[in-house]
């Protein structure tokens, strides 16, 4: 059973605020308890994923798998139904607004209807190009995102653990962070050797800052008493980093990774203005230059859908590493 009221695990990704409360929840937990779990978690999280979803999945027999699925449906069913219903309601409202040409402050007179969008979506499904657009974009996201995650976590930890690194890097982060992806286009073209690298750079930038800042935040929130306790038990600096600091910072890092994934998707459109040939951002942009509204909406929805899926994938990936957290509470 997934933990109920999983404040940090389920919802923290959407704001560092949620994450902060997660940390305070953890901080409030008895120090002794944390000390134990922190000790175990680092080794265990990697070796034996403790999340029930992963644990023993393949070993289950078919009937028990069915009961498991039924259980999942029972626990998730209501909220799933509500979500599905809300989406359908939105679709119906959209349809009605375009059908009756709703025009009261907001004008639906010439907006494409869901049927038009669906038709053009189906039309695209049968073309090869459409899959190339999606594939190329996914590739860019994965490359840019992995680079950002790797560098972001490293830089974040360095900044949190070293005063000098922090003083040197922080100004860069703060100055570069507010610059919108579109503004980077001309320089990205000039600076990077290939078109592809310019686009990946822009996607990378989008994901980088949330990861860095959340890592920094997470590491900073590591209770100093744990570090001192570990040190008094004779742990080396590296051991402390690996067994105490990183596990403690993981919830925050996971949140940063999830936010970063979302941001990298909306940087992608800016990046793909350069591409001029493939990519779902380019597809949307191209539709705009020819005033093809249904295609614009198809592109928007694809970006939204892929963004949701990939953020979910990030959370799923992070789950085993956060196993200690559930037991800590």
């Amino acid at each position: 059973m997934p933990a109920p009221a999983g404040v940090p695990r389920q919802h923290n990704a959407d704001s560092s605020q949620g994450n902060r409360s997660a940390m305070s929840v953890k901080a409030r937990a008895s120090e002794l308890e944390i000390l134990e779990t922190a000790e175990i978690s680092a080794g265990e999280a990697r070796a034996v994923p403790s999340a029930p979803f992963e644990a023993g999945g393949p070993r289950r027999s078919l009937p028990s798998l069915a009961t498991h699925a039924l259980g999942l449906l029972q626990s998730h069913g209501p909220s799933f139904t509500v979500s599905l219903g809300a989406l359908l309601a939105g679709l119906v409202l959209w349809h009605l607004a375009t059908l009756y040409k709703f025009n009261f402050y907001i004008d639906f007179e010439n907006t494409p209807s869901p049927v038009q969008v669906g038709k053009s979506f189906l039309g695209h499904l049968s073309t090869q190009d459409f899959y190339i657009h999606i594939g190329v974009s996914m590739q860019r996201i994965v490359t840019g995102y992995l680079l950002a995650a790797g560098l972001g976590i490293t830089v974040g930890v360095a900044m949190a653990r070293s005063r000098i690194a922090r003083a040197a890097i922080y100004p860069y982060i703060e100055v570069l962070r507010p610059i919108p992806a579109v503004a980077w286009i001309p320089l990205a073209i000039l600076m990077w050797p290939t078109e592809e690298s310019s686009i990946i750079y822009i996607t990378f930038l989008g994901a980088l800052f949330p990861v860095v800042l959340n890592t920094l935040h997470g590491v900073e929130q590591t209770p100093e008493v744990l570090v001192r306790a570990a040190r008094s038990l004779g742990a080396t600096r590296l051991q402390i980093l690996w067994h105490v600091i990183l596990p403690a910072a993981l919830p925050s890092i996971a949140a940063g990774l999830a936010i970063g994934m979302g941001v990298s998707w909306f940087s992608l459109l800016a990046g793909e203005i350069i591409s001029g040939q493939y990519g779902i951002g380019y597809f949307t942009w191209n539709a705009y230059s020819l005033i093809n509204y249904p295609d614009i909406v198809v592109g928007m929805l694809i970006i939204g859908g892929l963004g949701t899926l990939s953020t979910y994938a990030v959370r799923l990936f992070m789950r085993p590493f956060l196993g200690w957290q559930r037991r800590a509470r």
Partner: protein
């Protein structure tokens, strides 16, 4: 019951419209300050306040105040988007975006636009061009086979490129066609990241002037007229036809102002748009790429119909009823009220090959302005002498022997023949051919000037 009241609410929302008598008339115009051919109906009208001069003030308009707003865009697409949203009444754009505009409006149930006037044209299609990075070893269009070529899809330059590819042996499949907006394409050319970029005026000449790009193909080789025009929302034109006529009058005035003193005009335009005056001069001067003419010629309708077939084939653009879309009413009314001869202007067609033959070469001295030279030796001698005194030359202009196009001296290929004569060419292949035939040699302008350098 609920459903009915919802319907009622929607119905009410739809029927509430602008009161019949309005004290203020909003005129919202979308123009493109980075597209030279739209200037006569765009930046010039705006900055000289020519529309204000012609707006009706009597009769039904006696108590009216006008609220004119200008919005600047980098391409026609966003203007059409804004017009569909009724945030712009009037839009100025090039031929392909015009087609998209007309067709997209006709696709809606009730909204329409009208094509009310042209701004200017080039009969053979100059203004669009294919440019390669200046250091590239590509010299002719045929070299583009297997290369990556970018262009703003949906623009006039894109249409020209498709036509050129179809006309050549290359074919559309044998180049990798990319969609890049002008600014992105120009940056890629400057950085040498794309093999070639096809764009509309003034981008090609801008790249040449800034020394980042070199033209390998001029739109004139495709042979389809290149034109720009003005579209107006039909509901606006029906409600305020006099305002639309006033706008066409402003276009005529703007054209006259440019023709009266091109050098002064381009200096002003540089201040307004940031495009270098030397680049603008290549369009707006006598012998320039652009013929200022708001009339709607039968040839234009034919060209637009051709453009539509290209768009329909490549981008599934909906059909367009040209009869309903194009109207000469407003431009005729403007001509009549200003006492000009519409039929005469409509009948005239300027072909640069004929019109520019024998036009003098020009030197633009930074301080003394423009001086003209009838022959190339005179021109080269003058450049040599000026350079010897250390004078700063803004630009020099010569003409392509092949097409009659105006060129920057520094980008032209000079052919020096044994009899001491000179000819200038836009492209290397033609220059080479001429040199081979006349037994001369192909040199650049610096080498041509060097032979005239004062000896002392």
């Amino acid at each position: 019951m609920k459903y009915r009241s919802l319907l009622l609410g929607l119905g009410l929302a739809l029927t509430v419209s602008v009161p019949a008598y309005a004290k203020t008339i909003d005129i919202a115009i979308g123009h493109q300050s980075m597209c030279t051919d739209t200037y006569m109906a765009g930046i010039v009208v705006k900055e000289l306040e020519l529309l204000e001069k012609h707006l009706p003030t009597g009769g039904d308009y006696a108590d009216v105040t006008y609220n004119i707003s200008w919005s600047d865009y980098t391409s026609g697409g966003p203007i059409t988007n804004q017009m569909l949203a009724n945030k712009l009444n009037i839009g100025v754009m090039g031929d392909y975006p015009l087609i998209v505009n007309g067709a997209k409006f006709q696709e809606t149930e009730s909204l329409r636009t009208l094509y009310v006037a042209g701004t200017g044209y080039n009969l053979k299609g100059s203004g669009n061009a294919v440019v390669v990075p200046v250091a590239s070893d590509i010299y002719s269009f045929d070299d583009l086979k297997g290369k990556a070529v970018s262009t703003p899809v949906g623009s006039a330059a894109w249409g020209m490129l498709l036509k050129a590819l179809q006309d050549s042996d290359i074919g559309v499949e044998q180049v990798s066609l990319k969609n890049q907006s002008p600014a992105v394409g120009a940056a890629n050319i400057a950085a040498g990241k794309i093999d070639a970029h096809a764009d509309f005026c003034p981008w090609s000449e801008l790249m040449e002037f800034r020394g980042t790009g070199r033209k390998i193909y001029d739109g004139s080789e495709a042979g389809v007229p290149y034109l720009h025009g003005v579209v107006v929302r039909e509901d606006f034109a029906k409600e305020y036809p006099e305002v639309v006529t006033a706008f066409v009058k402003a276009i005529i005035d703007a054209g006259a102002w440019i023709k009266a003193d091109p050098m002064k005009a381009v200096e002003q335009m540089e201040k307004w748009t940031g495009v270098e005056k030397e680049v603008l001069y290549i369009y707006f001067s006598k012998g320039g790429h652009l013929t200022l003419d708001p009339t709607i010629k039968d040839e234009w309708v034919e060209a637009l119909k051709f453009d539509h077939t290209v768009l329909a084939h490549e981008q599934a653009i909906p059909p367009l009823d040209f009869e309903a879309w194009i109207t000469e009413d407003f431009v005729k009314a403007a001509y009549a009220e200003m006492g000009h001869d519409y039929a005469a202007d409509k009948a005239s067609l300027v072909d640069p090959v004929a019109a520019n033959s024998g036009l003098p070469n020009e030197i633009w001295h930074a301080r003394d302005g423009i001086s003209t030279f009838g022959t190339l030796p005179e021109f080269l001698k003058a450049v040599a002498e000026l350079e010897a005194t250390g004078a700063k030359l803004n630009a020099t202009y010569v003409y392509d022997k092949e097409t009659g196009l105006k060129l920057f001296g520094k980008t032209a290929f000079f052919v020096h023949t044994p009899d001491g004569g000179y000819e200038t060419f836009l492209r290397k292949p033609e220059a080479d051919a001429y040199a081979a035939e006349a037994g001369g040699e192909v040199i650049d302008m610096a080498a041509a000037v060097a032979t005239f350098a004062p000896t002392e």
